[in-house]
C-alpha cells in the first residue's frame, strides 16, 4: 500500500509542475511522514482489522506544497513528541543541520527501525515552522495532527 501511495504522490507532484527542488523536498517529507505513521501509530483496539484512523494529505497551493498527517497515539507519546517538535521549531537551519549530523553519528536504530532522524530531516527539508496539535480521544489516546510546508 505504501508503494502505491508513493507512486501516486510522485505522479501528482510531476503533474503540478513545481520546481524540481520543491518536488524532491515534498517527496522526501512524504516518505518520512508515511514511515512515521506506519511505525508510531497506536490504533484503538476496537478497530476492525484493516481499519485505520491514519490520514495523510498533500495539498498544492500557490505558495507551495503542504503535507499533513493525522494518527492516533498513546497519551504517554505526547510529551516527548511535543518537546522534540517545539525544540526543532526554535532552531535555525544551521543548528538543525548540526543536530542531524550528531544524531547520524551517535544515533542507534530504535525497535521500530527508525534512526531518530525523521523529524529533524523534515524540519531541515522544509525550513519552516512545523504545526501540530494533540486532540484527546479518550482517557488513553490522542489524535496527533502534523502539518508542514515546502516552497
Amino acid at each position: 500500500m505504501l508503494n502505491a501511495l508513493l507512486e501516486i504522490a510522485e505522479q501528482k507532484l510531476h503533474v503540478i509542475g513545481c520546481e524540481t527542488k520543491t518536488r524532491k523536498k515534498a517527496f522526501n517529507i512524504l516518505v518520512e511522514c508515511l514511515q512515521n505513521l506506519f511505525k508510531h501509530s497506536n490504533e484503538h483496539p476496537n478497530l476492525q482489522e484493516g481499519e485505520s484512523t491514519d490520514i495523510i494529505m498533500m495539498l498544492a497551493g500557490d505558495d507551495g506544497i503542504r503535507i499533513a498527517t493525522g494518527n492516533t497515539i498513546d497519551k504517554s507519546q505526547m510529551r516527548p513528541l511535543q518537546e522534540r517538535l517545539e525544540h526543532l521549531n526554535k532552531q535555525g537551519t544551521e543548528v538543525i543541520r548540526k543536530q542531524y549530523q550528531e544524531r547520524l553519528v551517535d544515533g542507534k536504530f530504535s525497535e521500530e527501525g527508525g534512526a531518530g532522524l525523521g523529524f529533524i530531516d523534515i524540519a531541515r527539508k522544509s525550513g519552516k515552522q512545523m504545526e501540530y496539535c494533540f486532540s484527546p480521544l479518550d482517557d488513553e489516546r490522542l489524535f496527533f495532527t502534523f502539518n508542514v510546508k515546502v516552497s
Partner: protein, 125 residues
C-alpha cells in the same frame, strides 16, 4: 569473493560491487522501511573485501532520494570503506539544483575520513 549485482526497485537502489575492478556503484533511490535488511549484505561484503582490497577502490554513489533510515546504513557502509588502508575515492553525485543532496554529501564528507568528490549532473532519468 563474489561480486554483487542487484537490480533497482522503486524503493531500493541498483548495486554493482565489482571485486576485481575495485569499483562499487550504488544508484537510484533508497527509501525502504527496513533499510538494515537491504544494506547489511552490502556492509558485510565491504568488510570481506577489506581483507584483500585492490590498490584503488572507487565508490560511485548516485542517489535520487534517500530516507533517514537509509542514511544511517549509508554511514555504516562508508565507515567500512574508511577502515581500508589502500586508496579509496567516493564520488557523490547530485542533480543540479538539488542542494539537499549536495548538503547530505557534505555531511558525510565532514564525518568520514575519505575524500569525497561532489559531482553535479543533469536530472536523473
Amino acid at each position: 569473493m563474489e561480486d554483487i549485482r542487484i537490480e533497482g526497485t522503486p524503493k531500493t537502489p541498483s548495486v554493482v560491487f565489482d571485486t576485481k575492478g575495485g569499483s562499487l556503484e550504488i544508484k537510484g533511490r533508497s527509501i525502504p522501511e527496513n533499510s538494515i535488511e537491504f544494506y547489511k549484505p552490502l556492509i558485510d561484503w565491504i568488510e570481506s573485501y577489506s581483507q584483500a582490497p585492490q590498490t584503488k577502490t572507487i565508490l560511485n554513489i548516485q542517489l535520487e532520494y534517500f530516507n533517514t533510515s537509509s542514511s544511517k546504513c549509508i554511514l555504516d557502509l562508508f565507515k567500512k570503506l574508511e577502515a581500508i588502508n589502500n586508496e579509496i575515492t567516493i564520488n557523490w553525485y547530485y542533480e543540479e539544483d538539488d542542494e539537499d543532496m549536495l548538503e547530505a554529501g557534505e555531511d558525510y564528507d565532514a564525518i568520514i575520513n575519505i575524500p569525497f568528490k561532489m559531482i553535479e549532473i543533469e536530472e536523473m532519468g
